[in-house]
Symmetry: C2
Subunit: 141 residues, 2 copies
Amino acid sequence: MTSFYLEQETFEPPGAVGTHCILELYGCPAELLNDADQIQANLRAAATEAGATLLQETCHRFEPQGVTALALLAESHISIHTWPESGYAAVDVFTCGSHTQPETACHFLIEAFRSRQYTLHTLRRQPPASIREVSRDPVAA
Amino acid sequence: MTSFYLEQETFEPPGAVGTHCILELYGCPAELLNDADQIQANLRAAATEAGATLLQETCHRFEPQGVTALALLAESHISIHTWPESGYAAVDVFTCGSHTQPETACHFLIEAFRSRQYTLHTLRRQPPASIREVSRDPVAA
């Protein structure tokens, strides 16, 4: 089977914050999409690939199959919702900060879940200009 | 101050699953965007407004300000990332299933955070056709 993909990416102006990747994964092996431990490990690795800092994570297994996992990042979040019976996963990688590479995380996940087809859309979230001057510490109050 | 908003919504074909609302909230009072307990309460209420079932939630407070909260739903997720100093919040409401109304949840959040401006974009996630025949139980294995 040859690999097929559709990719659409928008230009990210220098200094912009807030890039939200909407990733659909098709043709993934069912067992990969139903292994909650592996899915969480993949999200942790994806956060690292993005240059982001994982702060919290949560995961839920559905009956008879399917997993949702959320990774709370210092720079926003990664989410995945899987339907193993359809070989499908809906992924979001939303990161803020010029030091992050959310598309790199997406390409890691495409490989990690052995997706045979995918679509990747990159949206620029629209914060006010004032936010670009803001820095904050991930350590909780 | 008059209220201003930009709203773009796409047509959702009957039987489709996976509606992802990308909501930017502007002009919100800082104190509302820095109150982690109230933010979590708003997300719970938004889940109810959407007709969705909350399964898990997680929240993180940043220094000197800002909150991220994630709600894991039986039908996908709601996320919010706030920058109180800019009056800005980036929200996602992603729900699957024909019984959910993610836009209703968005309008609830616009009101709950007293947003003076917002943008709402609704994306249709693109699952394979096979997924439309699938049902699953939110109870974990």
